[in-house]
Amino acid sequence: MNDQTYTEQHPVGGLSARNHPKGTPSPARDPLGDNSPKTVMASDIKAGIKDASPILFAIVPFAAVFGAVAIESGLSFWETILTSLSIYAAASQYVMVDLMGQNVPVWSIVLAVFAVNFRHVLYSASIGRTMGAFSPLQKALAFFLLVDPQFASSEARAAKSGLRPAYYFTYAAMIYSTWIAANCVGALFGSLINSPATYGLDFILPLYFTGLVAGFHKRPNFIPVLAISAGVALIAWFMIGSPWHITLGGIAGLITAATLSKPVKHKMDEEAANA
């Protein structure tokens, strides 16, 4: 995850001596020959490929199994691919396919998908704040592609060197194309898939998310947020079941962070009162 050499400052001199705040692109106004936006973009693309690569191994079995399950549940090949192309959220796709087989009303299937995906509301609220460099259209597309690893990696990227479209969409393109390709393979040759447990592939995602969580350890109140989220998630998991543990555990962590937060400058009285 360490990238070294790229500079966000523009070379001093000539016409380009103005300041560019982090994350704000300025392509059109730069004089020719100033290639630093290009350098930034190249480094963003490289980092996107590098960060997405380990995730691809985890996605392939997930996507292939979904393809196989969907076909087995009675979806056609093209319906299966349309599902993955348009929804692009693994857990909720499993829920949809499962409920379709049970002859429940359409509105309740859509509601279930909405509920399973509810955690994305938190993702978009958080990552949206770092998308200053995105045009409205880029934002609209970016939110469509906001899957769990995309969110996690983009948060890490935003904290480290600012989030720009080149990084975001490189990462997204790798995940999305792998997801669809493996889906097709699963839908066509589902019966040939062997157990992914042999190589530990079934457990890459939890390990990956663990690594990302640890990477946020410098954020304020990391330990209490971590402990409360995980604790509440476990209680919810045992008492209510998946996927509510994610939303409830997450919200408990956010309440913890908000409660422990201290005002930046003034309002010391209020802080003392809350302490």
């Binding site: 360490n2 380990p54 319906e79 349309l82 929804i87 692009y88 959220a89 909720s92 379709m100 087989g101 359409v106 299937i109 909405f114 995906n117 994305h120 509301v121 938190l122 993702y123 978009s124 609220a125 958080s126 949206g128 934002k139 939110f143 948060e155 190589y199 530990g200 457990f203 890459i204 939890p206 390990l207 990956y208 998310f209 663990t210 690594g211 990302l212 969580v213 640890a214 990477g215 954020r219 304020p220 109140n221 947020v225 971590l226 989220s229 604790g231 998630a233 476990l234 543990h245 994610i246 555990g249 408990a252 962590g253 956010l254 309440i255 913890t256 962070a257 908000a258 422990l260 937060s261």
Partner: protein, 99 residues
Amino acid sequence: MHDNTVLLILACALATYATRTGGHLILSRFGTTHHRLEAALEAVPTAVLAALVAPSLVTNGPAEALSIVIAGIIALRYSLMLSVLAGIICLIVLRGIVA
């Protein structure tokens, strides 16, 4: 199976997209943000990902639990790639021993 499978799929896609834009759209209606809201948003990745992983820590077995702990510790100091790799190696070795 439902008659309008394609319509159902597209409705589910719309519901999913609503969750993925919703948080940002709601938030961008507020001009300034309170420090507590700011702190809560700052904590989203930690809180949500911890909640996501928590069941994997306790519902699988000692090999899985230990590999998560090791991946977490290594990620404190080293790169994400290295931590995932260490977790996987640990998992394969431990599964070999346990099984």
